[in-house]
Amino acid sequence: MSALLDVRNLHTEFRTGAGLVRAVDGVSYTVDPGETVAIVGESGSGKSVGAMSILRLIPDPPGRITQGQILFAGRDLLGLSADEMRAVRGNEIGMVFQEPMTSLNPVLTIGRQITETLQQHRGADRATADRRAVELLSLVGIADPERRLRQYPHQLSGGMRQRIMIAVALTCEPRLIIADEPTTALDVTIQAQILELMTGLTRRLNVALIIITHNLGVVARYAGRVNVMYAGRLVESGSAAEVYHDPRHPYTLALLRSVPRLDRPRQARLDPVEGQPPDLTRLDGGCAFRPRCRFAVEACAASQPALEQAGAAGHLSACFRRDEIAATPVAA
């Protein structure tokens, strides 16, 4: 089976007052048809910029995709014209963003925002588009869809708006949905509803899903594969089970050890990742995690470790000491 999405050596830079920021610095990964892949990282790790690069939604200036290939169903998206790209966005690739209030247009009815997509991409007539909109709202679990279609975003709750976003993303039966922190702004009971809905629908409709999140629990519940990012680079990649039970990068290990967990006895004290997040304008040629790393050795200052196999097949880590880390327990 060939990959649906194949990101190869992607580089995205921003020119800022403080200097050049390599927000995405040579990232490669694949997403298979129907697969759910999580991209995990903290603010500034490049996880959102990476996803926006796939859709070519990087504001230029100051941003620029400087290198790489983004093969989607065999076509390089970086080689498409602006018009061709517009036909991909919202049509072949759907998007769900974090803040449903700011990503829906406040002056258009819900119905208009769904039918617009259909008329634009599919050339559907008004009646067909209206019928499909009702169908879509029912699909995402909204009761009384006819009435909701005539309402405006501010008349709906946060959870409801996110359901609308998912409906919009599904409108043209895309093959891939990119969800950037889709539930971060939502309460925990609503978060659970939305995630169940998204994963249920993508499984049923065989849509691939990229979930970008910082929540390690969400990843564990919903993702098949996990990509961990730090300072613009992929530092670990593998199946969720491997990455969580046998992490091979010190950053992943430290993250997993630092969170308080409901499934374990209460700890006397948390074991935090020491130090501060990296300043992306001041990275050197070495490993960016080195200043905070308990495993750092001299070699880590000299060059950046490449993403290489660690442990099971398909499990990759960008650390010189990836084999030694296997001996460290995940529980603090």
Binding site: V188, N215, A220, R221, V259, Q276
Partner: protein, 328 residues
């Protein structure tokens, strides 16, 4: 309640916000019952967690205790004194003893002030340092207590990371040597790798200065780690209050159970083996809350009587209070 008098006691607190309509002729058309009759107390030296989803009234409760809101009715006793009967001078003195740490370290620090002035201002307002030199020395001491380099006093907030800013917010709260700190989502905005650092700092400070915290948060795993007792709020009311271990190991209220079940744990094997049914529906509007038990429209255990009568908090196990008529 045991022997010692609690440091803070909240009795039948109500905070209703009016909703008005009309431009020239303003008239009240309803009210939001943000807090609708809650009781709890915080013992000296303990951390009480106040959890719930947005709109449940947890932040409003904190603001009433901080005297940032004038409650509609009810009593807040701090160290035995009703805080709403105080004169302005007495109020000012009380503010020294009760401080706050806010959620967002970006909007809660004045971007035009240097860190040293942000922390030094309360010291100056309350006349705690006789001269500038002493004040600066105190600011530097507070910075290092909070794990920051004393030279940060000369920086502006924008020169610091989120975690460092939150440490500045904590140093500012400590500047007046308070006894009681309201932590309102104090670690929620921080990155995962920084959150644990700040949680550890809060614990160290509690021990070192004998602080008492009201820890308002929505992240249940953080609350479990930090708190001795926990109160769960839903739509302006407390639905369950218990010792931390009792609440997490043996939750009794259906809402608490639903809330705990909704939290995914970072372990794919556990998650794969869990039959998971998210709680249905959404939080109803606090303008027009459901009659009877406010949770009944979403509750799997609800029976006919839940639609009519509002259950009061009952002590079902020693120290374990639950507002549900269907659990025993």
């Amino acid at each position: 309640m045991s022997e010692a008098r609690p440091l803070l006691e909240v009795r039948d607190l109500h905070m209703h916000f009016p909703i008005s309509e009309g431009v020239l002729m303003r008239r009240q058309i309803g009210e939001v019952k943000a807090v609708d009759g809650i009781h709890f107390s915080v013992r000296r030296g303990e951390t009480l967690g106040l959890v719930g989803e947005s709109g449940c009234g947890k932040t409003t409760t904190g603001r009433c205790i901080l005297q940032l809101e004038q409650p509609t009715s009810g009593t807040i006793l701090y160290d035995g004194i009703d805080i709403n009967t105080l004169s302005r001078r007495e109020q000012l003195a009380l503010r020294r003893r009760i401080q706050v740490i806010f959620q967002d370290p970006y909007s809660s620090l004045n971007p035009r002030m240097k860190v040293g002035d942000i922390i030094g201002e309360p010291i100056q307002v309350h006349g705690l340092a006789p001269d500038a030199a002493r004040r600066i020395a105190r600011v530097r001491e507070l910075l290092s207590v909070c794990g920051l380099d004393p030279t940060f006093a000369d920086r502006y907030p924008h020169e610091m990371s989120g975690g460092q800013r939150q440490r500045v917010g904590i140093a500012r709260a400590l500047a007046l040597e308070p006894e009681f700190i309201v932590c309102d989502e104090a670690v929620s905005a921080l990155d995962v790798s920084i959150q644990a650092q700040v949680i550890n700092l809060l614990e160290d400070l509690r021990e070192r200065f004998g602080l008492t915290y009201l820890f308002i948060a929505h992240d249940l795993s953080v609350v479990r780690h930090l708190c001795q007792r926990v109160a769960v709020m839903y739509l302006g009311r407390i639905v369950e209050l218990a010792d931390c271990d009792a609440l997490f190991d043996d939750p009794l209220h259906p809402y608490t159970r639903a809330l705990l079940a909704a939290v995914p744990v970072p372990d794919p094997t556990i998650e794969a083996g869990r039959a998971f049914q998210p709680v249905r529906g959404e939080v109803p509007s606090p303008i027009n809350p459901p009659a009877g038990c406010v949770f009944h429209p979403r509750c799997t255990m609800a029976v006919e009587s839940c639609r009519r009568s509002r259950p009061e908090l009952r002590e079902l196990r020693p120290g374990h209070w639950v507002a549900c008529s269907e659990v025993n």
